[in-house]
Amino acid sequence: MSKQLALVIDLNVCVGCHACVTSCKEWNTSGAAGFLSDDNPYGRDPTGTFFNRVQTFEVGEFPNTQTVHFPKSCLHCEDPPCVPVCPTGASYKRAEDGIVLVDYDKCIGCKYCSWACPYGAREVDEHQKVMKKCTLCVDRIYDETLPQAERKPACVMACPTSARLFGDVHDPESAVSQAIRDSGGYALMPEWGTHPANHYLPRRKTEITLHRDELERVDNPLKIDGKLPKPDPKTPSLDDSTSW
């Protein structure tokens, strides 16, 4: 089976720090494809193009609430609805690694692909007037001038809690496939049949079940806990020398 690169995002670990957002913007505004729009960043009405956002949702009702920080970017669907609608072929899915990309030199900026994406993953660049989206840092992950350990998307490099994993979800032995398998990884909006390649790992409660006999030893051979009543001296024991 062909390769499908993807991110696996662990919602149990994400703390909502936005480091992935800023590193993504930094890397992708500095590349050969030109800058990413960023207007009035310190003004009254800031706006710009981002490939990645961290959103926050509150689940449940007080006091039983959980805060879920939810990083959201292009999911690089296995069956991307944005690709067939593109009239120019600027939107395409790479056969060799499954990354969904936009050819900025072919895009006419008709925005039809953004209508066709249920996740809102695509954003128009207001200055270049073309559609842009997450590239999985395609200009970084194959860069042989970088050390092997750094050939990862900028967001994955930046995450301080390692909430973002990167790899081939078609390789059953890869770390991302194992994480999806072992931790209940799921896809967003499965109802549309887009089969997103990116997966999310659910929130998990970490609990240790302790039984009473694990805190206080039942047989208490050395009497060091001192909690058990001392038996009668005449009581026969297995080991005469140590009882009393």
Binding site: T47, E58, T67, V68, C86, G89, W115, E191, P202
Partner: protein
Amino acid sequence: MRPAFSVIFLTTLIGAGQGLFVALYSAEFGASLGFWAMPSAQYFSLGCALVLALLVAGLFASFFHLGRPERAWRSAAMWRSSWLSREVIVLPVFMAAVAAYGLVHHLRGAGDLTLALGGAGVALALLLFVCTGMIYACLPFLQEWHTPLTVINYLLLGCASGFLLSTAWASAQAPALLVAAAAWTGGVTLAALVTRAASLARNARLRPKSTVQTAIGVKHPRIVQKAQGFMGGSFNTRDFFHGKSYAWLRLVKWGFLLLVFPLPLALLAAGAALASPAVLAAAFVLQYLGLLAERWFFFAQARHPQNLYYQAIS
């Protein structure tokens, strides 16, 4: 969705042009079968010029939708998969057919050649309606659009608009056609009323398939967004929200229902009875304004699932 005026003008203008062409050809076809006298060559040649003017105006409006209009020629590439690409191809082919049909009428008058050319033109007009409608109907998660009624409404509303214009045109150029044209216009308009009302009824009962639960994959009945990740606006907050109140939407809905159906029909009856081109032209203009409102409502009513991710700024 936020309605884009370029697309509103494109779809209403070419719809009227396609409908007018179908009406022109119906006039020739009926005359060739002996239902009424053959209208003058000028009725057809100038009528085709009017069709072309509407199509060119629509095409012109569509360029304002593009971020990079200079690359528009590229959009014919993906006709195997994209309805938008198919529309981009069919529209100029249809324009060529209309031009040829009008030119032959002008040079040689009605005959077998115009019947054949016009038949091809009508087929292209219908194909163009299908392409335009399918651009919207093919998107499954825009549930308001994902129905055959979308294509049927584009077809019938465009025909109603074009037939009404043809009635005004007939009252000026071919009075013998007037009664038949008015009757056809009334019939098409009433059919459009039925299908548009059907789509309104369908959309009123739609339940969104996507919820915030499926959007983030957490199965809890109560999930509230607390932050969308940024304080200002973005493409996602601008292009997918119409930003108008529910009351405004209701007003537009009842406004277009009034302007597209009963008012033009009343003017159509009065104009046909008085044989007045001015009244019939007024009916067309009034209905066209209503169709602009109809198309605005069509876009505004669609709720894009991406909006689930943009419910709260912070």
